[in-house]
């Protein structure tokens, strides 16, 4: 969708190259944000040291943007020693792809793209049809295929334990069997700062350096570090329609029910994923501070607007067992 002229300015963009950020006042303080940053950096270095072919899963969402920022800090003055991997459903917001390509250019990182469209064309998965169709579930196959193709032994993800119940028990180092599956009842205990990344050939790990962060921490960190993020996170005018209480983008990728009439609203996104299942919230928050204020006052979790979680109470757990992010 075309962004119009009223689009708010993205804070931090004018700071230019984030790689030469001056140390902020907060960064040497004993604040919890610093503790979280240190922890995440420690985990990323551990991944670089313990695995042969790690990748950083990049979705274009704020969590994965923070991940890239942390990766840059973790290996400074060197470059981070792993490529970015984007699982592309083909149903993207334009801003996401532009942002991704700019980031790749700036960091000089290698980008691997796994395309759901290709998976469909090759007959690996069958496209859902009708108004409820989503490529969200299909991503899992593309993800696992792409990991296999590139012999990835560790995929760094931006998942946080506060996002959802099933994630509360996720480890930093989460083991996946040869089928890419998670066994929640048989997880390795994690103690002190010891992370066991040993595995057999064909198995891999998902590693979540942001495990202990909350949505609020992520926003505060973005603000403190002045990390540029896509304008979709800031309020803007957009054609949307309402489906069971969720505002969805009036996108070519979604088939609307006859009664679903697109209307123009002032909205922003709290999470950014596949355009067909990422709900917008009505919001006038057009600056960082307003977003933070909104998060502080929010009465609904981020994922509360994720269409895909609403299918059943244990929806997330089921998908994770299949090898979802």
């Amino acid at each position: 969708m075309k962004s119009d002229s009223t689009e708010p300015e993205v804070p931090g963009q004018d700071t230019g190259n984030t790689a030469v950020l001056q140390p902020e006042d907060w960064s040497r303080r004993n604040s919890h944000l610093k503790v979280l940053e240190e922890e995440a950096i420690f985990i990323m270095r551990e991944v670089a040291a313990q695995f042969e072919r790690p990748v950083l899963l990049f979705s274009g969402g704020k969590d994965s943007i923070v991940m890239v920022h942390l990766a840059e800090k973790a290996f400074r003055p060197g470059k981070f020693p792993f490529p970015l991997m984007h699982i592309d459903t083909g149903h993207n917001f334009d801003e996401t792809i532009t942002f991704r390509d700019d980031l790749v250019r700036r960091t000089g990182a290698r980008l691997i793209v796994g395309s759901v469209q290709e998976s469909i064309e090759r007959g690996r998965v069958r496209e859902e049809t009708g108004p409820e169709a989503s490529r969200n579930a299909l991503q899992t196959v593309t993800l696992l295929d792409t990991l296999k193709e590139h012999q990835v032994d560790c995929a760094l993800g931006g998942g946080r334990r506060d996002e959802e119940k099933a994630r509360a028990k996720e480890r930093f180092f989460s083991h996946r069997n040869a089928f890419g599956q998670w066994d929640p009842k048989n997880q390795r205990p994690e103690l002190w700062s010891q992370f066991n990344g040993r595995k057999n050939v064909g198995e891999h790990f998902r590693v979540f350096p942001l495990s202990n962060w909350t949505e609020m921490d992520v926003w505060q960190y973005i603000a403190a570090e002045r990390i540029p993020i896509p304008s979709l996170y800031f309020s803007h005018r957009r054609k949307v329609f309402n489906r069971r209480g969720t505002w969805l983008d009036n996108s070519d990728f979604i088939t609307r029910y006859p009664e679903e009439e697109p209307v123009e609203k002032t909205v922003r996104f709290r999470t950014i994923g596949d355009a067909t299942c990422t709900g917008a919230v009505l919001s006038h928050a057009s600056t960082m501070e307003e977003i933070i204020a909104e998060v502080a006052a929010a009465r609904v979790t981020e994922r509360g607007n994720r269409h895909d979680d609403k299918r059943s109470e244990a929806a997330m757990e089921d998908r994770k067992k299949q090898g979802y992010f």
Binding site: P11, P189, L191, W192, T214, A297
Partner: protein, 693 residues
């Protein structure tokens, strides 16, 4: 830019003007939303004050938020004790539950016909648990108040209890142990307390729950407190706080004090908000396990890792283990740029002066403060796998950034976690704990867990399955069974002493740092340690040197044996143990004067090398100079300024150093002054040359 920065309340009101205004306003009217924590009240007050101007803060960063610190705590207790309800209550009362979570909770409760909304359901994450109604694994929960962010490691109460609690406790600053007021201190309460002590959790909260079911009886509460205190006597726990609560009703959780007016202490949340964090860190012993080598080009080679304890400054001399090669720190790269020092907990990249081969698993330490480096030690191991621990099997041990093949040579005994009795055993089963002897293929660099959690802990991996099967805490060097018992007795008496000496001792940084004091004084602080037998001339030289320094305008202090033995150390004799304690105390006093920015001159016989090295280790590299003063035995006995040699000869005193007690002379690298051929004036000149103050 910073118009609305100050207060959450302003932000909230702004949010209410948005399109979601109706919804938000509706929820604000909920009774739950009206319940204010003390902290929230503070925010409201702040909103009425004018914005402080002139503070440069990046967009949207809430200064309060950047000042929040982090407390990790664990909760111990079974479902029956109301643990999940307590956590649900903390989340609910601190408003960390979102609307959709609350709705899901209501739906589930309704479907199960549980009656009122079941707060416990909030924390039961996995489907299997929901089906069985029990939690089976460690789950992490988050909530925050304006003061502090909290991470709860919620450990289940039933099966696999020990394994889970050990896991949850390994990083906790505090443990909440729940006791059902009706049932009192049970076997499992003892187990919880023992595990907390084993893992060295610095703070313990005993929450006596379900007070509503015992009519809020103060007497019942006191009874439980006494019971708990009686058995925790033998545990190594510094700080225990008792709080009577009702998780179900919210009594003494966030507020709700009216039902127990006799209780004058803090509510649980207030205590959690104010307890000291970071007590697990060891600020003294610099340990830097190398995690990863960063080499972007031919010109730069840096060693990435976390400073797990102590700190280091650019320019300091260091030793690399296992090679024991020496070099100097030339740069500290933090994630936010270059710095002059690296502090405990920071993930940094260190640059060094020399081309030394260093890789992952090596450790960088201070030259005179080196951990144990060997392949044999004793540890307490918690076993976490269905396959029992086998003596002699080849496992993999992960310790700091090092992995090495290892085996358990012997199980000294198993500890019954319920009775705390020692039992003979030749295997450890799932959830069992035992003291074992470990042998590793490559040396590891360790300190006792009690002194340094980071370098005293390890995990055991089964190479056949790659699974983490055990967790260990290092106790001591490998010993024979007999020595082992002696070592344990020493550990126990150290624990007792620590308790007598007052609990809850926490390291605090100096209010005014030494660097600032040195700046004001115009000279660096330093310690000069004179060692040597009685009559060698230590004090004469020290006095003369102090005068000289004083005249030059330096702040000085002179400590000598006679002074401290009359006051501070009047309780000590001249046996080896007492001499050791004498020197230890003097070292600590010297450290205080040093931190005050003084040049401290210490004149002590200090016959044992080990004791002198222990003092040296208290100070940064290059700030401690040892001076060995000696003369011919004949000269000493002729001088005999205090008449000690005469008394010793007459048999009036024993254990006079250099007469009938040993003196361990320092090595070649220490400045040696022979007062047979050097007078005090010359000695002073030589010392000043050496010092280059």
């Amino acid at each position: 830019m910073s118009q609305e920065l100050d207060s959450d309340f302003v932000k909230r009101s702004r949010a209410v003007t948005g399109p979601e205004a109706e919804a938000t306003a509706e929820h604000a009217a909920e009774p739950a939303a009206e319940k204010q924590t003390a902290a929230n009240t503070k925010r409201r007050t702040a909103a009425t004050e004018p914005e402080k101007s002139g503070v440069a803060i990046p967009d949207g960063v809430d200064p309060e938020y950047l000042n929040m610190d982090l407390l990790r705590f664990t909760t111990a207790g079974s479902v029956d004790d109301g643990k999940s309800t307590l956590i649900g209550r903390l989340l609910y009362d601190s408003k960390s539950i979102f609307e959709d979570q609350w709705e899901a909770l209501e739906t589930t409760t309704r479907n199960r016909g549980d009656g009122p909304v079941n707060l416990a359901l909030l924390t039961d994450g996995l489907r299997a648990e929901r089906e069985q109604g029990i939690t089976i694994d460690v789950a992490y929960r988050y909530f925050a108040t304006p003061r502090r962010k909290f991470i709860i490691a919620d450990t289940p109460g039933h099966e696999q209890y020990t394994r889970n609690m050990v896991t949850g406790a390994s990083n906790a600053d505090l443990a909440v142990i729940l006791i059902d007021a009706r049932k009192g201190v049970l076997t499992q309460s003892r187990r919880h307390a023992f595990l907390s002590s084993l893992l060295q959790i610095p703070h313990l909260v005993v929450a006596v729950n379900k007070m509503d079911l015992v009519d809020y009886s103060e007497e019942r509460f006191r009874e439980i407190v006494e019971d708990f205190k009686a058995f925790s006597e033998n545990l190594d726990v510094d700080d225990i706080t008792f709080i009577p609560i009702s998780a179900l009703n919210g009594d003494n959780i966030v507020n709700g004090r009216e039902n127990m007016p006799w209780y004058k202490g803090a509510t649980l949340l207030h205590h959690l908000e104010h307890v000291k964090v970071g007590s697990r860190k060891n600020p003294n012993d610099f340990r830097f396990p190398v995690q990863y080598v960063i080499r972007p080009d031919q010109d730069y080679r840096g060693f990435a890792g976390r400073v797990v304890s102590g700190d280091i400054q650019v320019g300091e001399e260091v030793t690399v283990l296992p090679s024991r090669e020496s070099t100097r720190i030339t740069s500290v790269e933090t994630p936010s740029g270059k710095a002059g020092e690296a502090k405990t907990g920071e993930s940094v990249v260190l640059g060094i002066e020399h081309e030394i081969d260093i890789s992952r698993g090596d450790m960088i330490v201070r030259k005179h403060n080196v951990p144990n480096a060997n392949t044999g030690f004793e540890a307490v191991v918690s076993w976490m796998n269905k396959e029992p621990l086998q003596i002699g099997k080849s496992y993999v041990l992960m310790h700091t950034s090092r992995s090495t093949p290892a085996m358990i040579k012997d199980i000294r005994y198993r500890i019954n976690v319920d009775t705390l009795h020692r039992e003979e055993s030749d295997a450890l089963n799932l959830n069992e704990i035992g003291r074992v002897e470990v042998e590793t293929a490559q040396p590891i660099f360790w300190d006792a867990y009690k002194l340094n959690n980071a370098t005293g802990s390890f995990i055991i991996i089964d190479p056949d399955t790659n699974v983490t099967v055990g967790a260990g805490m290092i106790r001591s060097k490998s010993t024979s069974a007999f020595e082992g018992e002696r070592a344990e007795e020493q550990e126990r008496s150290a624990t007792r002493r620590k308790k007598q000496n007052g609990s809850n001792v926490v390291w605090e940084p100096w209010n005014i740092g030494r660097t600032e004091r040195e700046e004001q004084n115009g000279h660096p602080a330093h310690v000069i340690w004179f060692t040597g037998p009685s009559g060698a001339g230590k004090t004469t030289i020290a006095r003369s040197l102090e005068h000289k320094l004083w005249q030059e305008g330096r702040r000085t202090m002179l400590l000598d044996g006679d002074q401290v033995r009359h006051g501070l150390n009047s309780d000590l004799g001249f046996g080896q143990a007492d001499r050791k304690e004498n020197i230890r105390r003097v070292g600590e006093v010297a450290k205080l004067f040093f931190e005050h920015g003084n040049v401290v001159l210490c004149s002590f016989v200090s016959p044992y090398r080990e004791d002198r090295e222990a003092v040296r280790a208290l100070f940064p590299e290059g700030r401690f100079t040892e001076v060995y003063v000696n003369a011919d035995p004949e000269t000493l006995q002729k001088r005999d300024p205090k008449g000690l040699y005469r008394k010793a000869k007459a048999g009036e005193i024993r254990q006079l150093t250099g007469y009938d007690a040993p003196y361990e002379a320092p090595g070649e690298d220490v400045l040696h002054i022979d007062t047979d051929v050097t007078d005090a004036g010359e000695a002073v000149t030589r010392i000043l040359e050496e010092l280059d103050l």
